[in-house]
Symmetry: C2
Subunit: 321 residues, 2 copies
């Protein structure tokens, strides 16, 4: 059967809301919707309610073959099908998520973390089609990464590989990180990271900026992008600094797996050249000679295209190989 | 046929000398010898002379099936079979090494860099038997790395992946590296690196040390190990510092590929606990919580066992899969 006549459900689980959608094998999102996450204090209740909703939705697509459910979730483990100790979810401990879904579905149910799902999505439906070695960096509240080597995701022996957000920019010093250590990349290059940089710049400089009107709690990376777009020099400098750190650490990542391309996805990546230019500049300056001119830093093809749902659904087809 | 009745030739090409040996499929080195490298200003002449020598040697093992030649060489590229711009070899430019050997042999001829060969050797004949995710760090004049993910070496899109020696300990500063940049790991944690640390300590401190009797050109990492073993405090501190840098950066490497173990091989690694203890201590202190207690830092099983020849020969069997 042609993959265009197949569908899978992609679910992107976030702390407050989940998003899910009906995706065809050639990457069309036929329908998508939101579903509350935080409302359900028990994962069992969440899965039961969402499963009923999915069953209803799938009924509308009876002319397609329903191939399964793919799920991207924070700390989702591909091997065990569990979500483990996810700080942003109300469900604590180890949640046997795929087992819970399998109570309601006979099809495959596949789970991985959100950044790995983004990488699989990029490979099946995005700019990485045809590539065997690439990396996707997700720039959301934190920094996630999905690393593909020789056509397969790098899961590591325990399913938790690909934590580039927790490689060190500074050893022994630098910003405190939610992981309990200091100097991790995501404390500099994420929605939170660029905000911390803005606050550092506001403290250090006397330069005027419209960002001085916002409290720490109010400010979002969209505010910073909007200010930079309008020419706010402090906001622009924050983007320069963010790209500089990211480009430097991507030079390290290339020394590890020598990918053909690195795709930036989500939140901050939507600011386009504002983040891409300084990232590429630092990357070119710091990458080892033997890799110069080989790896491209690109904006993900899935930005603004329900990429998280596409990536999650892609797991179902990628799983079958 | 049982692999114990098969042999391969393993060749380890060094700047001054090469070593080669006859290896059985179950990892016995039946015979090994040296062969000059630098003497031959042309790679063609080197390969011709060495091929004749190998043919003679193989004659003595006619009861075995001769399966091929595996070669570990600086900057050896698995995909192209070429040695490219190797700074320590007299042959400059791009040397089509496997093609040159194939003039003399009908069997497979497989080339990769020395650290990748060490990793394949560890997987077939050493401590990584049965592991699908591990890293071998070679601590020689420089620092090389062979990374195995899901049972396969990470070559990257161009065959040059696995340059952990050129990840940054310090960004923008730190020691000058042969690669033209600053702050690379191998400038701290290699035979050269520990010597540079000793010289830094001799400049900074007034502490007596037998190492003060040696010039920079005279001093080797064996001198430093010997002094440390006898209780020389400055030499011991140099090992502490070296292990500290190595352990910190291995914490980053684990965030990348989440290996089950990291093996230290060669030169400095032969100093055993002197390097292992501070490396493990720093690793435990810096590794991300989710990886704590999962990845072991071990001495390679192939240290002192013709490991470079074993690793090179292992390429022949690994190739066949």
């Amino acid at each position: 059967m042609e993959t265009s006549r197949e569908i899978a459900i992609g679910i992107d689980i976030g702390g407050t809301n989940s998003r899910f959608g009906v995706v065809t094998g050639d990457g069309a999102v036929l329908k998508h919707d939101r579903f509350p996450t935080r409302t359900y204090s028990k994962a069992e209740d969440y899965v039961e309610a969402l499963s009923h909703k999915i069953k209803e939705v799938v009924k509308d697509y009876e002319e397609y073959a329903f191939k399964g459910i793919g799920i991207g979730a924070p700390n989702g483990n591909y091997f065990s099908g569990t979500i483990e100790q996810a700080p942003n979810l109300v469900w604590q401990g180890v949640i046997p998520l795929t087992d819970l879904f399998k109570r309601y579905f006979d099809t495959p149910v596949v789970l991985t973390n959100d950044a790995n799902a983004a990488a699989i999505g990029e490979m099946m439906f995005g700019g990485a089609r045809g590539m065997k070695d690439f990396i996707v960096i997700t720039l959301g509240t934190g920094l996630g990464s999905g690393i593909v080597v020789n056509g397969d995701l790098v899961y590591g022996h325990d399913g938790f590989a690909g934590e580039l957000g927790h490689c060190f920019v500074y050893m022994d010093k630098g910003r405190k990180c939610g992981c309990g250590r200091r100097g991790c990349l995501e404390t500099y290059t994420s929605a939170q990271g660029i905000k911390r940089t803005v606050f550092e710049l506001m403290a250090e400089q006397t330069r005027e900026s419209e960002l001085r009107k916002l409290s720490y709690e109010e400010m979002t990376s969209e505010n910073i992008f909007e200010a930079a777009r309008k020419g706010d020099l402090l906001a622009k400098e924050a983007f320069e600094i963010t790209g500089h750190y990211l480009g430097m650490k991507l030079a390290d990542a290339v020394a590890f797996s020598s990918p053909r391309a690195i795709f930036l996805y989500g939140g901050l990546a939507k600011s386009g050249d504002m983040i891409l230019k300084p990232t590429r500049k630092a990357f070119d300056a710091y990458v080892m000679n033997i890799f110069k001119g080989k790896a491209s830093i690109l904006s993900s093809d899935l930005n603004g295209k329900q990429g998280a749902i596409l990536g999650a659904a892609a797991l179902v087809w990628k799983q079958r190989k």
